[in-house]
Amino acid sequence: MEFMPEFRTARPTTVAEAVAIRAAEPGSRFLAGGTDLIPNIRRGIVAPPTVIDLAGIAEMRAIESLDGGLRIGAAVTLAELANHERVRTAYVGLKQAAGGIAASTHRQVGTVGGNLCLDTRCVFYNQSEWWRRANDYCLKSKGDVCYVAPKGSHCFAAFSGDLAPAFMVLGAEVEIASKSGVRIVPLTEIYQDDGIDYLLLKPDEMIAAVRVPAPSDGFRTGYAKSHVRSAIDFPLAGVAVGLRREDEAITDLRVALTGTNSMPLAVEGTEGLTGGPPNEAMLQGLDALIAKQIQPMNSTFSPPGYRRRVVAKLTRSLILNLYRDG
């Protein structure tokens, strides 16, 4: 038998039941597709006494129309999202992000909620128990030192989910369920730039669904990423762009990134770059905004300088492509 720590599985059939179990059992974890959680359990990175299997909750598995937009249940699979008719036609960036995650086998079980809550990643963290023990563990799990920045007391593991930036440029909101009910917040507000506490969810809270507003006229989205292998791998860096072109001018521009920080980053200040075509001055302005806000660290095998350059390049080409098509 392969190594697995001992745990008990709870199998709720409603969201209310699931969050009640989560509140009652400290350290328990939600399980959806398991493509992120189970490898981490196997590596001894997390050892939840209780695993709450969300597969039996039908209300979390639907994509519904809502106010002209979509309400996407958190347990919808990445394949279902990428192949959904409305997503393919009206939310192209979201389709590109969902359809490019890992490989087709993973996408048939991995879920929207799982990708939004994807554990942050680092070369010193995503290793076997034996590897980490031999290196005295790291700050994110059982250790005292962050080997990426040994002098500090901050964890720099990188957020690598592909969906979050694609949802962010659409202005998505999330429904967060807890024992006290459901609150709806912008997706940008559930993250902070800390590799350990990257999610601002309380212990008994769970993302139940994502709400995407109705597509607005002429607003186009795209997603592109850089990775070592074109399948199975996590992004070194990913870029989502949304823009609207009116005549020669870009009148709305939104950029969000993944892989560069411990959270998905909605780039601030892009509204100051609108009003004209994407000429070299505008693109250099955007390069400067991004360079100031990202903080890629030595948490992956590719050096931070490379990820800085690749983010700038991907963003430029996405903007030019969307501008040309728009």
Partner: protein, 159 residues
């Protein structure tokens, strides 16, 4: 702590069965250790190579990062179920005829992933075959022979 077991019932290679299985047992361990079906292989140990691919309700799934209880009540198919009446499936024939298998370790996963692909798309083009097998790593063949093997199965007359 003594792990409590609960009854897991499912349909495995066409036969209904029920076993007492602990909550923390992986699907691959259930298949290999409890059911004795060792055709499903453990490769990378973390969902990165596809060697452990089985079909769950006709869809490929990585058995090394699935809990056995996650597939309760479902139809599971492993490479042992590919043969019917002593005859190889068209994909097994394809891998045999086109030399899609060298060391053979990834082959059960490749065949199950390809089987899942052909059930949703019976006539895939080469790009769709690559996409369907993108989660399965082979260190021997360079993939050319694997694509040819699947193509052979696609073009084979129905038995």
């Amino acid at each position: 702590m003594i792990m409590a077991k609960s009854i897991l019932s499912l349909v495995l290679n066409g036969r209904r069965r029920a076993d007492a299985v602990a909550d923390n047992v992986l699907l691959i361990d259930y298949l290999r250790e409890i059911c004795g079906l060792t055709g499903t292989k453990m490769g990378c140990d973390g969902g990165e190579c596809g060697a452990c691919t089985v079909l769950v309700d006709d869809r490929p799934r990585l058995s090394c990062i699935s809990l056995a209880h996650q597939v309760a009540g479902r139809r599971i198919e492993t490479i042992e179920g590919a043969v019917s009446n002593g005859r190889m499936s068209r994909l097994q024939r394809g891998f045999h005829e086109k030399l899609g298998s060298q060391c053979g370790y990834c082959t059960p996963g490749q065949i199950m992933a390809a089987e899942g692909l052909l059930r949703t798309n019976p006539n895939p083009d080469d790009d769709q075959i690559r996409e369907g097998l993108s989660g399965n790593i082979c260190r021997c063949t360079g993939y050319v022979k694997i694509i040819e093997s699947v193509r052979y199965a696609v073009e084979a007359p129905s038995p």
